[in-house]
């Protein structure tokens, strides 16, 4: 199953409470709304989806007063941070297998991984399976 949500554009002015601190998967799109990166906030992610998305889109002005920020922002490839314009996410305890599922769907449809998942600096994708069909939006 895909992440069944529209793309959201990043609003630096939004309250951080809008984003969940929970585990889950997320997709990042470029200016043309092409999905360029699929990743997850796992059990070891310090601030869940919120922490991952802030690490990608950048902390807003005044955030230095916040008592949290991602301790390993370098774990996200710089290219993702440079090109990220839109995001969508799904809160799920099954982040690991959903991540694989989302990557599998993508690679089945486009016969390749999302562009920035192919970077050597991106989290290594596990061995992916095949559906033998196009997912056609499912």
């Amino acid at each position: 199953m895909r992440i069944r949500k529209d793309w959201s554009s990043w609003d630096p002015g939004m309250s951080f409470k809008t984003l969940p601190g929970a585990m889950g998967i997320y997709e990042i799109a470029d200016e043309q709304k092409n999905c360029i990166y699929i990743s997850y906030a796992g059990g070891a992610s310090p601030y869940g989806l919120r922490g991952e998305l802030y690490a990608i889109f950048g902390m807003p002005a005044g955030a230095d007063k916040w008592n949290w920020s991602h301790p390993h922002p370098e774990s996200i490839p710089a290219e993702v941070k440079q090109r990220a314009k839109y995001y969508r996410y799904e809160v799920t305890h099954n982040y690991y297998s959903r991540w694989i599922e989302d990557l599998t769907r993508f690679s089945e449809d486009y016969e390749t991984l999302p562009e920035l998942n192919k970077l050597a600096t991106a989290p290594r994708a596990p061995h992916l399976g095949r559906y033998h069909w196009k997912s056609e939006g499912i």
Partner: protein
């Protein structure tokens, strides 16, 4: 009955134990809590190490180039290899290699060339296709996937559910109803390549564990007659035979995570102080630890007894069902108590318990549910089995 380990068994067990503690557990500190694969460099390095130690694919029979370690030792090893966070479903992250599905040893020479040897060499992977949406407990009645003979091949239509690894497999052993008038004798096992036209992974089915299963559909899938594994109509007997064997190491792997959980709980109980005293001094906690030990030791005994019977060539169906039932349920209770002893920490992703708790729950369903194990045992009892 002598359950004393032989010197050789002790040596192998000590080596595996050391490997799990010194090579596998430290790597888990840097992996996601739900990960079930190592990064490729570590994977390669550890496999090479195991091969060097002469311990790769220990269950592989001698005639196929393996060391042919017996089922009692394999049962003991299954308990050792699972003693880490991912250990229940990914023991040692596969560093010891896996043996092919036992069904494949029953194939023709041609089938062995095409499937068995590539699996042994790690070039091909298989899935097991028995369960269907219509039910997994009673496959003899519930299999609806239908095969119709057409000249030299069979046309197969239908689907399967819960097939672990089918999306990454190269082929599967798929059970098909080839004669609807014959009940269990009307089921045939086919070797099906996953790139056969008409074979589809319909969806990935997310479950409690960090790996999913699949739902498959077959549409006019044409499979040559030569792809039948065993006899036409002999699929059910083939499935039953191998399931009974697999149940024993499957059961004892559950004990491995219980052993590790108990170790952690004892350590924690000694160091955690509440109301001025370590938890270990509280009778409520002591009893939980003792109950854990009773659960583990009794079920280990039953699993080893089943393995010993299988090794001696005696009937072991009853005992393997009992082992599967006891070990899976006992391990669930042990993990649950260890979580309780750890309080909030027992629920956190920082510790392995929550993963074990989810995964061990599945073990009461997979490879025949607890109820079906009781059904198997009851049948045996009521038929007044000899030799017990």
């Amino acid at each position: 009955m002598d359950m004393q380990r032989t010197e050789e068994q002790q040596l192998i067990i000590d080596t595996v134990r050391k490997f799990i503690r010194e090579e596998i557990r430290p790597l888990e500190a840097d992996l996601d809590p739900d990960a079930y694969e190592l990064n490729p460099e570590d994977d390669e390095r550890l496999r090479a190490m195991v091969k060097e130690m002469g311990m790769y694919q220990m269950g592989l029979p001698v005639e196929y180039g393996g060391p042919g370690v017996d089922i009692v030792t394999r049962t003991m090893l299954a308990e050792e290899m699972s003693q880490h966070r991912a250990g229940l479903y990914a023991p040692a992250y596969g560093a010891f290699g896996s043996s092919p599905p036992e069904h494949l040893y029953k194939g023709t020479d041609e089938q062995k060339e095409k499937y068995l040897y590539p699996v042994i060499r790690g070039e091909k992977h298989a899935f097991f296709g028995l369960s269907e949406p219509s039910g997994g407990s009673d496959p003899a009645r519930s299999i609806r996937t239908r095969g119709v003979r057409d000249g030299d091949s069979w046309v197969i239509n239908g689907g399967k559910l819960w097939n672990s690894g089918a999306d990454t497999a190269d082929f599967g052993i798929v059970y098909v109803r080839t004669d609807p008038t014959k009940g269990r004798q009307g089921i045939t096992a086919f070797l099906v390549d996953t790139d056969t036209p008409g074979f589809r992974v319909q969806r990935l089915v997310q479950v409690l564990r960090s790996h999913y299963t699949t739902e498959l559909s077959f549409t006019d899938m044409r499979i040559p007659h030569s792809q039948i594994l065993g006899e036409e109509g002999g699929g059910f007997a083939l499935a039953n035979d191998t399931l009974a064997h697999n149940r024993i190491p499957y059961a004892s792997a559950c004990l491995g995570i219980a052993v590790y959980a108990q170790e952690l709980a004892i350590e924690w109980a000694k160091q955690r102080v509440t109301f001025g005293e370590p938890l270990a001094n509280r009778q409520a906690i002591q009893w939980m630890l003792v109950d854990n030990e009773i659960d583990m030791r009794t079920s280990r005994w039953i699993a080893l007894d089943a393995a010993a019977r299988a090794q001696r060539g005696e009937s072991f169906r009853f005992e393997s069902s009992m082992a599967k039932l006891l070990c899976t349920e006992a391990a669930g209770r042990v993990i649950d108590r260890c979580m309780q002893i750890h309080g909030g920490l027992g629920m956190a992703k920082d510790m392995p318990f929550e993963r074990w708790y989810r995964e061990v729950r599945i073990r009461r369903i997979g490879e025949g549910t607890s109820e079906i194990q009781r059904v198997v045992m009851a049948r045996d009892l009521l038929n007044v089995r000899s030799g017990s």
